[in-house]
């Protein structure tokens, strides 16, 4: 499989400030790639360089084999973009907007079908300035698909939307992937990235601090899975003696790390055999969000070098 996006040593500086500081990554064609990071980390700068909207200061960038800055016109026929906080002409109807884009790209899209696809058909004849935030984003999504793009860049497409609108945009992203299109997604919502993305990269202070599949990142940077049970501190000592595990006891809760398959079963069996009172057990494992918060926090504390 070839790469839709290839980035090597990409830099973008504003005076002395490096907004993007020598980053490398690739996005294989047909995958959903989520680019994550806190506000001001360099996400939007990077995605705008990839879209050909911003000139890079250094490094190499290829999107579908093209240089986005010097070959933007050619590239724009093959990519679809929803910028952050998509805005359009106030008085245009969604149906007209799609016809307009169709003419510009020399395509003849079916506005009804595209609007149906993003769930905006009932607003086909409503002025843009009367649409809600979610409906505007949906029109942005529909417009980004007019030219039948191979790569879709979605810059925070669900920010500020209600849960239902977010879910309907997720559904479209899944469809895009199933059609073999590459999706480059930036988002604040870690849960969104975990649900949708094949590959994730986390950028902070202009540098990539973690990259890989969500499960790889969690496995590498997250804490082990653990079992929590409510009971007396004596349970902790009992389990240490019986199973040799080091548990943490606090606030009437005993937390036991699970490192191997079958650990949970062994712990529960031992608990039952202890004769001590216990109740309410639960297993927990880190989410991408836990890892993200921990990584970004540790980097800010100077513990992690990018």
């Amino acid at each position: 499989m070839s790469n839709a996006v290839e980035v090597t040593g990409l830099r973008k500086t504003y005076g002395d400030l490096a907004a993007v500081d020598s980053i490398d990554f690739v996005v294989p064609e047909g995958e959903v790639f989520a680019f994550l990071g806190p506000n001001g980390a360099g996400k939007t700068t990077t995605v705008e360089i990839l879209e050909g909207l911003r000139k890079r200061s250094g490094g190499e960038v290829r999107v579908l084999g093209l240089d986005p800055w010097t070959q933007g016109t050619e590239l724009h026929h093959q990519i679809g973009v929803i910028p952050q906080d998509f805005r359009f002409f106030d008085k245009i109807y969604p149906r007209e907007a799609i016809e307009f884009y169709g003419t510009l790209f020399g395509k003849t899209p079916d506005p009804a079908q595209l609007l149906q696809r993003v769930g905006l058909l009932d607003k086909a004849e409503a002025k843009f300035d009367t649409l809600s935030g979610g409906q505007k984003q949906k029109l942005g999504l529909a417009l980004s698909l007019v030219n039948d793009p191979r790569v879709c860049f979605l810059d925070e497409p669900t920010t500020g939307l209600d849960p239902q609108a977010r879910r309907s945009i997720w559904e479209v992203i899944r469809q895009l992937r199933s059609e073999g299109r590459t999706v480059f997604l930036t988002t604040h919502y870690l849960e969104e990235a975990e649900l949708l993305a094949d590959q994730v990269a986390i950028i902070h202070h202009g540098k990539i601090i973690a990259a890989g599949s969500p499960s790889d990142i969690i496995a590498k940077h997250g804490r082990p899975a653990r079992l929590t049970v409510e009971g007396p501190p004596a349970l902790g000592s009992y389990l240490q003696q019986k199973l040799g595990v080091t548990s943490v006891v606090s606030d009437g809760r005993v937390v036991i790390p699970l490192t191997e398959r079958g650990d949970a079963l062994r712990v529960l069996t031992a608990l039952e055999a202890s004769g001590l009172p216990w109740q309410r057990f639960a297993t927990e494992s880190d989410t991408l969000e836990d890892v993200f918060v921990a990584l970004v926090g540790r980097m800010d504390d100077g513990e992690v070098k990018a």
């Binding site: 705008e48 879209e51 050909g52 909207l53 911003r54 000139k55 933007g72 016109t73 724009h76 026929h77 990519i79 973009v81 910028p83 906080d85 998509f86 805005r87 359009f88 002409f89 106030d90 008085k91 245009i92 007209e96 907007a97 307009f100 884009y101 003419t103 510009l104 790209f105 020399g106 002025k127």
Partner: protein
């Protein structure tokens, strides 16, 4: 440039415009309001200046004849101020100052007797320098009547006479000059203000970046705006001519030779508005730059007052204003029916439009460096 893409962008822009009630009002009704307003201001009959007179020779027939002759000039309307209005020998000058009246005349004591006995006598005219026009009219009227009286006394008759006739065969009225001027005014203001606003709001709303992601190019985008404002200039010119003719019986010559001005005018000002908006960093600066360019042009290009009536240095300044060539050319075509003499205006406008169009394209950025 791709005509299909220009057409598509034009359609979107035109729809946005006609769906905006404020924009529509300004395009269709504002020209009528302009013609009505300025027509009423400039087209009213000239009123005479009120001249307050203190007659210190009230018993004389001659002083009464003198004041009567002043009234008959039609330039001044004499109002006699008697002792009742000037208590305690108050001077006429003080009366005029207290009542904010600009001009007055004092007929001296023994005026009639001195006149008949050929003794030199002086009437005094008071003027207020802040109202130079009224002062000038009063001075001229009093001077003319004094000459007449002097001639009569010496039994002379006038040798040199003055006949005032309008040029060409038509009698031009203020409104006839005003219609081309106001068409020029709307050719200037409508695209300039719109483009300065568009350039900053599109930047703020990231619409240029959005469009840069499509095959539409900057020159295609600007061309579609020019086409729209050319159409709008034809519509508003037609409305203004219609209003001028219907409301004030304006005389205008409509000919095919107006077309270059209705096309090149919007071409130039759409480009200039875009250039002004593009070099500004913020919407506020854009508005200031737009106003600095627009306002001098609005008043100094012959829109409301003929440039020939300006002081010489302002006439030189007017010649560097592009709107001057629009109005000058339209006057030559619409008023004097002399399109041949407007070729130079067309040439200046065409050259300036191309230069400003290219500069605007270079200055405005689709995307960020």
């Amino acid at each position: 440039m791709n005509p299909r893409r220009i057409g598509a962008d034009f359609k979107v822009f035109a729809r946005g415009y006609v769906r905006n009630p404020v924009a529509l009002f300004f395009s269709l009704f504002f020209p009528i309001i302009l013609v009505l307003l300025f027509g009423l201001i400039f087209n009213q009959p000239t009123t005479s200046v009120t001249l307050y007179a203190e007659n210190l020779d009230p018993g004389s027939n001659i002083s009464a004849q003198f004041l009567n002759a002043l009234n008959q000039t039609g330039a001044v309307q004499v109002t006699v101020v008697g002792p009742a209005q000037l208590p305690g020998n108050e001077s006429l000058a003080k009366y005029l100052a207290d009542h904010s009246d600009p001009v007055g005349i004092v007929i001296p004591p023994d005026f009639g007797q001195d006149y008949l006995s050929h003794q030199p006598t002086n009437v005094t005219v008071y003027t207020n320098p802040e109202d130079a026009v009224s002062g000038g009219i009063a001075e001229a009227a009093v001077g003319a009547v004094s000459n007449e009286f002097n001639l009569q006394l010496s039994h002379g008759s006038p040798v040199v006479g003055v006949a005032v006739l309008p040029i060409a065969s038509t009698i031009y009225k203020e409104i006839d000059y005003l219609v081309p001027g106001l068409i020029g005014f709307s050719i200037l203001t409508s695209p300039m203000f719109a483009m300065v606003d568009i350039s900053s709001t599109y930047k703020k709303d990231h619409l240029f970046r959005q469009l840069s992601l499509t095959p539409l190019t900057k020159d295609e985008w600007l061309a579609s705006k020019i086409i729209w404002y050319v159409i709008l200039s034809f519509i508003s010119a037609a409305i203004m001519v219609g209003a001028g003719v219907a409301l004030f019986h304006a005389h205008v010559t409509l000919s095919i030779y107006l077309v270059p001005f209705l096309v090149l005018g919007p071409f130039f000002f759409v480009s200039l508005g875009m250039l002004a908006g593009s070099i500004a960093k913020t919407p506020e600066t854009a508005a200031v730059i737009g106003n600095v360019i627009t306002f001098p042009m609005m008043f100094l290009s012959g829109t409301f007052f003929p440039v020939a009536a300006f002081p010489p240095y302002l006439q030189v300044f007017a010649h560097i204003l592009p709107l001057y060539y629009v109005i000058d050319g339209m006057n030559k075509v619409m008023l004097f029916n002399n399109p041949g003499s407007a070729v130079a205006d067309v040439a200046v406008l065409a050259a300036a439009s191309v230069v400003v169009f290219v500069l605007a394209i270079l200055a405005f950025k689709w995307r960020d460096e």
